[in-house]
């Protein structure tokens, strides 16, 4: 299994045009990024297209990755997540299920494969989200994983838009404090 250093090596060689390294990077990381794309987009066909776009971006931007204390998977997954959210939002509004459908989805129960997580311990943000009220934690997750907007959140919780903004921003403040502990 590729280590963090291996993956960084593949990225820096891909940045120099090394196609084999790019292939190795794909081998090592595409399944995880595909899982993320499937989770966000919900459709296999869309997730496959998105994955292609993601790796094209990775090839084109490999020279912009710098080893600066962040893991290469953070960089890769962020590119994948952001591309998929942009794609999701570009769908016609009628096609999106809206917050009701989003809120009804259970968080994916981790299967055996998922137990090989990047961090050896439960992510700090998950623990900090548990310290928030359930609704506030749900709102944060739905923004990150489903691209929920303030308008959709306000509609779902049946509160004014400005109130939703204040709720979420206060929640972010609490998360920040918790994450800094």
């Amino acid at each position: 299994m590729a280590t963090r250093d291996d993956i960084e090596g593949y990225i820096s060689r891909a940045a120099l045009g090394d196609r084999e390294a790019f292939g190795a990077l794909y081998q090592a990381t595409s399944a995880k990024l595909f899982g993320v794309a499937l989770r966000i987009l919900g459709s296999r066909a869309e997730a496959e297209e998105a994955l292609q776009d993601v790796f094209i971006k990775v090839w084109r931007n490999a020279d912009r990755y710098q080893s600066n204390g962040l893991s290469p998977m953070t960089w890769l997954i962020t590119i994948a997540r952001n591309h998929c959210i942009d794609r999701l939002r570009a769908r016609k509004p009628e096609a999106a299920g809206g917050m009701d459908q989003i809120a009804a989805m259970p968080d994916a129960a981790p299967g055996p494969e998922a137990l090989a997580v990047q961090s050896g311990e439960r992510a700090r943000i998950a623990a900090c989200l548990d310290e928030l009220e359930a609704n506030k934690a749900l709102a944060v997750r739905r923004v990150y994983l489903d691209g929920a907007t303030y308008a959709e959140l306000a509609d779902y919780f049946a509160i004014p838009l400005n109130t939703m903004r204040t709720w979420l921003r206060r929640s972010l403040g609490k998360l920040r404090a918790c994450l800094s502990r």
Binding site: F34, G35, Q52, A108, A109
Partner: protein, 226 residues
């Protein structure tokens, strides 16, 4: 119950930017600040690092075999270029939500410019379909432009232009289809870069035949001195 604590400081903005809640109209100004403010960049990196762990529980899923072939066909087409009937070139329509196109956000995790860059620009379309990053190094006059999102239309090329003040656009050449493009900015133009606008236009193969943009202007960006 109001705690009275502020909810619109840089920390909140950085989090909203990473999440994708910031309106596109604010994102441009925020990104200008990111260029100059390492603490703000650290804040963006902080939130990026933590939010990404929300994907820890997502299981890897094996990818069908054909996907890698599609990627390499797009990136490394055999010459002459294979044309796919269905169109592998997808124009990524920007969000109808009016929120920041996240394509550019992914790359603000760390320092964006080359270590010795003296000026930078983000060249982007409003809908996020085109995002490119430009770095200029004054001593060498090299301007390096990399693709982040978007590509040339089929059978067309993308040409890069410098627009200084009220002057007519000056061509800096045709962009490479893939990977970074480095051009040497003519000496007499280097002093005009800061505050100028970089733009890309859609042109026939070989670039504009007239010396001025002939096709659609695809994206623009202001150059900022560092």
């Amino acid at each position: 119950m109001s705690s009275g604590a502020p909810t619109d400081g840089p920390m909140h903005q950085a989090a909203e930017y990473v999440l994708g809640l910031m309106p596109q109209s604010e994102a441009a100004a925020f990104e200008e600040r990111l260029v100059r403010d390492p603490d703000l960049r650290d804040e963006v990196a902080f939130w990026t690092h933590h939010f990404v762990t929300l994907t820890d529980d997502i299981a890897p899923v094996p990818v069908p075999r054909g996907v890698y072939d599609n990627i390499t066909q797009q990136l490394f087409p055999p010459a002459p270029a294979v044309k796919e009937g269905g169109g592998l070139r997808r124009f990524f329509l920007g969000a109808a939500t009016g929120l920041v196109a996240l394509a550019g956000v992914a790359l603000w995790i760390g320092p964006q410019s080359l270590p010795d860059a003296t000026a930078v620009a983000e060249i982007a379309s409003d809908d996020g379909a085109f995002v490119l990053a430009a770095s200029f190094v004054e001593p060498t006059g090299n301007l390096t432009v990399t693709w982040d999102s978007g590509m040339a239309r089929e059978d067309r090329v993308v040409e890069l232009w410098l627009i200084a003040g009220e002057a007519a656009p000056v061509s800096l050449g045709v962009m490479a289809a893939d990977g970074p493009t480095t051009v040497v900015v003519p000496a007499e133009l280097r002093g005009q870069l800061a505050g100028a606008v970089l733009a890309i236009s859609d042109e026939p193969p070989g670039g504009s035949p007239t010396g001025a943009p002939t096709g659609d202007v695809l994206a623009t960006g202001a150059v900022q001195a560092l």
